[in-house]
């Protein structure tokens, strides 16, 4: 399944900046960065649970927000891109 992860981490304190970095790193382990603080992840249900658990441990619910959008397995019809950096299709041919 395809999951869109977005977050807002309050960076007014040094601890907040650290949380932002750790959140980004965790997301990068599971998917590709399509915009700043927006990630697209192709994960199976077990991987999703692991990812969610890891992210929930990092953020501070008092100041930060985290959203998951479930795009399902037919996500191709649900995503449109315009402009620079279109990213890559994780299910398409990967030839470099």
């Amino acid at each position: 399944m395809y999951v869109l992860v977005t977050y807002d981490v309050n960076t007014s304190t040094p601890a907040g900046k650290a949380r932002l970095r750790r959140t980004a790193k965790a997301c990068l382990d599971y998917g590709q960065r399509v915009q700043n603080s927006v990630f697209e992840c192709k994960v199976d249900p077990a991987q999703f649970v692991a990812m969610r658990g890891r992210l929930l441990e990092i953020i501070d619910p008092a100041t930060d927000s985290l959203r998951f959008y479930h795009l399902g397995s037919n996500w191709q019809h649900r995503v449109e891109h315009h402009g620079a950096d279109p990213g890559y299709d994780v299910e398409g041919p990967l030839v470099i």
Partner: protein
Amino acid sequence: MKRHLNTLFVTLEGAYLRKDGAAVEIRHEGETKLRVPLHNLEGIACFGWDIGASAALMAACSEAGVAFSFHNPHGKFLAATRGFTSGNILLRREQYRRADDEACAVAIAANMLAAKLANSRQVLMRTARDHGGSSPARATALGQAADSLAVRAGLLGRATTLDSLRGIEGDAAATYFGVFPHLLVNHDPGVFITGRSRRPPLDPVNALLSFLYSLLMHDCRSALEGCGLDPQCGFLHRDRPGRPSLALDLMEEFRAFLSDRVALTLINRRQITAGDFRREESGAVLLKEDSRKEVLVAWQERKQVEITHPFLDEKVTIGLLPHLQARLLARHLRGDLDAYPAFLAK
């Protein structure tokens, strides 16, 4: 249930692959070309002399079950990384025992070859059906070859030695490649075949086939390793140091169904033309670099097609077939299945 995942192909000379978190990052001349999480991949295949990878990445790949292999620019297998030996020693011991017992080896190899002949026959009959009407000569030649393959497949069941199986297989392959020119329809006349030639391929069609066979080889080998079997200990192919005989055995079922059909589609749709090849002074014909990408894309797309597995009766992607067959072979070796059910294309 194992799922069919994507394979990453790297053909860019000078690229360096490194581990970044739980992902592979491809860098070239100081910039990041692509970054893919490892859990989305089942294999990484590099084609080039000047492609590097970090030890950390290789270790992470073997940990995550991602097959990692290096090939020369024309697809010839050079090296693969492997982590600690995994899998079940009891299964592997049983594999060696069966390979040493000729009667057991003949039973497995005969099933594999029967599937190979049936799948080759399907390819011939498919073209005879679709394009035989416009050319009676083609329909006759393909029909006769298909009949002859059917007769030879019947002989397989009576063979008692591996050498007689090899003889039948050799005859069948000669018949099949003898009518291979009839499978080329609406193609660029510069893309032709004069018998099967390899090491090196001497004409464009052979160059394309060799490249596709080495892709299939990568998949079969990693499928066997993934199921805990030893890819070097084969039943039909003889032992030779460094030769992945069991992977070659497993390939037989898929050559026509996977590789040959991708080659024929590319040629008959004129996606591949004479301009995609170059001839070396030695007479070898090789695919050009840009054209290899087109072949890899076609290969990847073919692997994503879903079919119903004839034995398991489940919907699976074609890319998963080598893995499923390796698993069925392991089940046969363990004694859970009386015979090895080789893959028969519908």
